[in-house]
């Protein structure tokens, strides 16, 4: 029997390879259903003539004929790949997605090997990209349907006994395959490589592959694996600006998110803003995705989104999410701010899912404290001599006023929690009760550790000593033995209670070597616990440059010297964004973003800038 369709296909592929037409080759090597009729005919011919088994050798020999022989070397990886392509068509059963995934992964792996050929590899670049995209789609689809891979998870997990062993998901496995292709593209030695090069040869695929790999790494939450990719790109890629806009925008989006996730908010802001600026103006979905990270990044750096931005179509709904946070930061009510971004509430689920909840919570609270300190200064501070002539004291704020304001905020929240009733009453705002803490923070509520549970709180109904009680007073409460009423020694090996009441307060019988406890009992003139904490918060604001001035520890005050020209408020509480910007913009370099080399870099006095490449390692080295 003849194989007319297959013969024709072979002839066409041979021509395509000869003419090195990679795009056409990819167009021929379809795998995704629904496939045109001609592929079904070809599949039938394959099943009849080249069934699984010894006849596959014949198929491979036919595939070897597809590659032109030159200088004694032949592109065997491509022959093997083509054979795998045919057996894929022959065997694939798309009803079994997991099996399809395995077949496809083998196929992509082989295609990446074919890509590695220095002369011919570039021909399969579009095919590698196409197959990788299908593989990524399949892996991410399977990831969302855990019932299909449940048995795999069980096998991998070895009945969940070894929880510490890291499980490699299908998505991560796919990312690893795509990374191999990325490395092949990046390390192409033809033409001019590196920063002085242009996207040519396999290098045109650098960002296509990187973006696909990053998409998969973000999907499976393995951001750390991206670090090596960014380092390799910094070391070996041609400048990003020479690549098409879609690749630039996508890459800068992922790079920005990566930097954001690593708390490098300033470079993240540059990358995300560039991604937004270069995005096609009609690409609303992408612009919205960029804004989802660009907005919190700016908030953390002290810049809030304007209505003009939030009213754009791509920002629809984002205002409802971010404006309340901005208002709370400006308001200075730290308890309301914490409650608003409480972990686990339904309102914050969106933030948590996007991975921006914790950065916002932890990074913006200092801005809330700045607002509070600023407001208290406005209303309760000494603003200096209004004449500006006399040599009076500089503007200052007694920190006791800040303490009063904090206590007032705490009391307001306690009251509001008490007023609420019913099933949907908000849970009591625990931070509001922190001012009653006998030890530790007066601003962050912390449940007492049971190890330090008070003796008084033991349940008297159950006449059983608690473990903390026994640990301390076992020699009295449950000794090894005792003399009974007849004067006979009774052993007490079971450790039962012999004497005393577990509910009694034994603390008063303890010897206390300390005559006084200054940390517990504030004495006259000594700062309270809360004052200590206020000092440390303000010290943090001062060291970050978010406030200017100095603290006095005795008779605690914040003093704002040098305010005569600009006034106390702008001097003591400078603009947050401008402060951060002037500090960070000294280095506008964004790691992972390759810029064109500066024309004619003449070494200036001082030797010019030193580029630190200590973090850059060769590609492929983990």
């Amino acid at each position: 029997m003849a194989t007319p369709t297959l013969d024709q296909f072979f002839a066409s592929v041979a021509d395509i390879v000869k003419s090195r037409d990679g795009v056409k080759l990819q167009d021929f090597l379809q795998i995704e259903p629904p496939l045109p009729d001609i592929y079904r005919q070809m599949t039938n011919e394959l099943r009849q003539h080249y069934p699984s088994g010894p006849r596959e050798g014949d198929l491979l020999r036919r595939c070897e004929g597809l590659v032109p022989k030159f200088k004694g070397s032949s592109w065997t990886a491509f022959s093997t790949f083509m054979k795998l392509y045919f057996t894929f068509l022959r065997d694939v059963n798309v009803d079994n997605l997991l099996e399809t995934y395995d077949l496809l992964k083998t196929l992509v792996n082989q295609c990446v090997l074919a890509l590695g050929d220095s002369q011919m590899g570039v021909i399969v670049l579009p095919t590698v990209l196409y197959l990788s995209k299908v593989l990524a789609k399949l892996a991410m689809g399977l990831d969302r349907r855990p019932e299909l891979i449940a048995h795999l998870l069980r096998l991998d997990g070895r009945s969940n006994q070894d929880e510490t062993a890291e499980k490699v998901t299908l998505v991560e496995k796919s990312a690893n395959v795509v990374r191999e292709a990325f490395i092949k593209c990046l390390t192409d030695r033809s033409g001019t490589p590196g920063i002085h090069g242009k996207p040519e040869g396999k290098r045109i695929g650098i960002y296509l592959m990187a973006n696909l790999c990053l998409k998969l790494l973000f999907q499976c939450g393995k951001l750390r694996n991206a670090e090596q990719m960014f380092a390799s790109i910094s070391a070996q890629s041609p400048p990003l600006k020479y690549f098409p806009a879609s690749q630039r925008v996508t890459y800068l989006y992922y790079l920005g998110r990566y930097l954001f996730a690593n708390n490098l908010f300033y470079p993240a802001q540059i990358a995300l803003q560039a991604s937004y600026d270069q995005c096609h103006r009609q690409a609303l979905s992408q612009k919205r995705a960029i804004l989802t990270y660009l907005i919190p990044c700016n908030i953390i750096l002290g810049r809030f989104p304007t209505l003009q931005l939030l009213q754009r179509p791509e920002a629809e709904g984002l205002g409802d999410k971010f404006i309340p946070i901005c208002r709370l930061i400006a308001r200075g009510d730290y308890i309301a701010f914490r409650e608003h971004l409480a972990v686990g509430s339904t309102q914050t689920e969106w933030f948590a899912r996007k991975g921006i909840l914790l950065p916002l919570r932890t990074r913006c609270e200092i801005l809330v404290w700045r607002s509070l300190a600023r407001k208290v200064f406005i209303h309760g501070g000494f603003h200096g001599d209004s004449q500006g002539q006399s040599r009076g004291p500089p503007p200052f704020l007694y920190l006791s006023k800040l303490e009063i304001a904090i206590q007032w905020i705490q009391s307001q929240h306690t009251a509001s929690a008490q007023q609420a009733y019913g099933f949907f009453a908000p849970r009591p705002e625990l931070d509001a009760q922190a001012g009653n803490n006998r030890v530790g923070s007066q601003i962050v509520y912390k449940q007492l550790d049971w190890d330090f549970e008070g003796v008084n709180e033991l349940d008297a109904q159950e006449a059983l000593p608690g473990p903390s009680l026994i640990a301390k007073y076992a020699d009295y409460l449950a000794p090894d033995g005792y003399f009974d009423a007849q004067g006979q020694w009774q052993a007490n090996s079971a450790g039962n209670m012999v004497d005393g009441q577990p509910s009694a307060d034994y603390k008063q019988f303890e010897l206390d070597p300390y005559a006084s406890r200054p940390d517990l009992e504030p004495e006259d003139g000594k700062p309270t616990l809360m004052m200590r904490e206020i000092e440390s918060i303000l010290a943090s604001l001062l060291t970050q440059g978010l406030m200017r001035g100095y603290l006095t520890h005795k008779n605690p005050r914040l003093a704002i010297p040098g305010a005569r020209l600009r006034g106390a408020l702008p001097t003591g509480f400078p603009n947050v964004w401008q402060t951060i910007y002037s500090r960070e913009s000294e280095d506008d370099n964004v790691p992972g973003w390759v810029q064109p080399p500066v024309a004619a870099a003449i070494p200036s006095a001082g030797g010019g800038r030193v580029v630190n490449l200590s973090g850059a390692r060769p590609v492929g080295v983990q």
Binding site: R144, R145, P146, E147, A150, H151, R154, L155, K215, P244, A245, S246, Q247, V249, T250, Y253, Y254, Y276, D277, Q278, C279, H280, R281, Q282, A283, S285, Q286, R288, A289, G302, R303, F304, P305, T306, Q308, L309, C326, I329, A330, R331, G332, R353, K354, S371, R374, K375, V376, I378, H379, G380, I404, A405, W408, I409, Q412, F573, N575, V576, W577, Q578
Partner: protein, 77 residues
């Protein structure tokens, strides 16, 4: 293998249901979609659209709340 063992069934069949519900929420717009076109000139970008307008005011640097009336102010006197 274990997938055919009936005693294993109870748990795994419940888990996927829960996770499916979760994943339907997850799919909202979490992915960065591929662009339908590969390249475009600067005029078609966000920046190009507002090029004549460096007046595009996207970020507010001055947001300090200077409202005179503050509930706690009377506490400070």
């Amino acid at each position: 293998m274990s997938s055919t063992q009936p005693q294993d069934k109870a748990e795994p069949s419940q888990q996927p249901q829960q996770q499916q519900q979760k994943s339907s929420v997850l799919e909202e717009d979490d992915e960065f979609e591929d662009f339908p076109v590969e390249d475009w000139p600067q005029e078609e970008t966000e920046q190009g659209a507002t090029a004549n307008g460096t007046d595009a005011h996207l970020w507010e640097e001055s947001w300090d709340d200077d409202d005179a009336a503050e509930d706690f102010s009377k506490q400070l006197k």
